[in-house]
């Protein structure tokens, strides 16, 4: 009598754990996708894909700082991503050649970050988990941080939506309506830094840019308003997260890259659908 009971408890515990890490991963993936979607739309509309990359790559430097000073990875990456984003925005306003500047800053930050991480003696960390993410290792407290960040970003974007959209179309239109486009740019910068900080564990620094751009670009082909595009990007992003995790689970592929692969398939599919609809 006692033996089967023990077995049952043991099995259910194992099932719980198993359920838990996958559920946690799915919740983390969906959360990050929801926050990345509207910001990704602005990244696409403003042609600042490189900007997202630069911010994300700088996050590795943030990881190194966090380990060195014993602060939370989230705080460290957030601080460095924010610093990077503000630096880029400021320099852009002074007429530097943007793509060159971003190329220098993004890759330097990544390289310095990787070197700094390798210099941390006594701490065993695998830089791979920050480059490609470690979504299956998301803890309950990670999940709390991720979702607080996600909800914060979504509320921020909804609150500033009209001003952001006007400034994106034309800064002078914004000025004439009493909106400061520089302030809206700062809102976007802060939102991006938060998304980078919460997404580094989910898809990793190298693929955050993909999570920003690919769902938004996929939604563009099948939508007719900015709002529809943002919602579409959120749906496609969340579906990519679920699909990628399923792929990772069934085929034993790395989770972060799998999510991006599924998103890329969505991009191809939505563009194909739009083409077919157009020729009819």
């Amino acid at each position: 009598m006692a033996t089967p009971v023990t077995t049952t408890i043991h099995t259910s515990k194992a099932t719980d754990m198993f359920d838990d890490f996958l559920v946690r991963a799915i919740l983390a993936g969906i959360g990050v996708s929801l926050a990345a979607a509207p910001l990704g739309c602005f990244v696409v509309w403003r042609r600042m894909a490189y900007f997202g990359d630069a911010t994300a790559h700088a996050a590795i430097l943030g990881v190194a700082f966090s380990l060195a000073f014993g602060i939370s990875i989230f705080v460290g990456t957030l601080a460095v991503a924010l610093a990077m984003a503000i630096t880029v925005t400021t320099l852009a306003g002074r007429g530097y050649a943007m793509d060159t500047l971003l190329g220098v800053l993004a890759h330097s930050a990544l390289a310095f970050g990787l070197v700094a991480v390798s210099l941390q003696h006594g701490i065993r960390i695998d830089p791979m988990s920050y480059l490609f993410g470690d979504i299956l290792a998301v803890s309950k407290s990670d999940l709390v941080v991720i979702w607080i960040g996600v909800i914060g970003v979504i509320l921020l974007v909804i609150w500033r939506w009209q001003g952001l959209l006007t400034s994106t179309l034309n800064p002078d239109l914004a000025y004439a309506s009493g909106i400061d486009p520089k302030r809206e740019q700062l809102v976007l910068t802060i939102g991006l830094a938060v998304v980078v900080a919460v997404a580094i564990k989910v898809v990793g620094a190298l693929l955050i840019g993909a999570l920003l751009v690919i769902p938004a670009a996929s939604a563009r082909a099948v939508t007719k308003s900015p709002e529809a595009m943002a919602v579409g990007a959120a749906i496609i992003g969340a579906a990519s997260a679920c699909g990628g995790l399923w792929m990772s689970y069934t085929m034993d592929t790395p989770a972060g890259p799998s999510i991006v692969c599924v998103a890329a398939v969505f991009f191809a599919a939505s563009n194909l659908v739009a083409r077919i609809a157009l020729t009819r």
Partner: protein
């Protein structure tokens, strides 16, 4: 000729001794001007003379280094930019564009489009509009706030001659209907001369200003526009020597074309 009697002295914007440096280049040098309620003021000047910079000072996009831009309390400005490059990745219908930055009921959107002469295109994507329709949608958006002052930066760039003539007629009509003052930059001297209450001739500094007649006869203005103005001047005199009806408009366009 001021349209609004009694109200015509209300000052909307005063630009006083404004100097602006852009990227090391002195774009504006000690510029002063003003706009009163209901009048049409046109800024003319060669390329790089600071026309757009002056407009951008008035809307607040450029902060003057020296000098001040004073605006009447609660002044509502409708701004029509010179061009608006909408990224093809941004899906935007004309109606949605008019709801920026404030959400509008669809009736208000339809009304503004009608007033700007672009009826029934609220559901069309901005990318699918013709040049003339696009400019009218920009004008309609500027009208959404019921502005006291309409600011237009070369609003007919990219339009052909009839299209541009139509557009100026539309602006004149909007001014009549709404009583809004108009501050615009234009290259089309014959339109400027016939439709403005006052003209400011700019070349970094204010060369001359006043009624179109005064400006057209000013030596500074002639020095700037040289032979190119002869046709426009002749046309301008012609327009003002004779009262003309709609039917005469063709002759104007024709004679203008010949003068080039």
């Amino acid at each position: 000729m001021p349209v609004l009697s009694g109200a015509s002295n209300v000052r909307l914007v005063t630009v006083k001794d404004v100097s602006v440096k852009l990227g090391g280049h002195q774009a504006l040098n000690n510029v002063s001007m003003s706009i009163d309620k209901g009048e049409i003021v046109t800024i003319v000047g060669p390329n790089g003379s600071g026309k757009s910079t002056l407009l951008r000072c008035v809307i607040g996009a450029v902060k003057p280094e020296i000098g001040t831009v004073l605006k009447a309390a609660n002044l509502k400005i409708g701004y029509v930019p010179q061009s608006l490059a909408i990224d093809p990745t941004l899906p935007l219908t004309a109606g949605r564009f008019l709801s920026l930055p404030h959400r509008r009921p669809s009736k208000a959107v339809a009304d503004a489009l009608r007033q700007a002469g672009a009826e029934d295109i609220a559901d069309r994507p901005m990318s699918g509009l013709s040049g003339g329709q696009f400019q009218r949608v920009l004008l309609a958006r500027a009208l959404m706030d019921k502005p006291d002052l309409l600011i237009l930066d070369e609003p007919t760039t990219g339009l052909d001659q009839p299209g541009s003539a139509d557009f100026y007629t539309q602006i004149e009509q909007v001014r009549r209907e709404t009583g809004a003052a108009v501050l615009m930059v234009s290259h089309e001297l014959h339109v400027v001369m016939s439709a403005s209450d006052r003209v400011v001739c700019l070349n970094g500094h204010v060369c001359c200003h006043g009624s179109p007649e005064i400006v057209a006869s000013a030596p500074e203005y002639r020095a700037l526009f040289g032979t190119g103005t002869h046709g426009a001047l002749a046309l301008y005199r012609h327009e003002h020597d004779h009262h003309h009806h709609d039917g005469d408009a063709c002759d104007h366009d024709h004679s203008h074309l010949e003068s080039h």
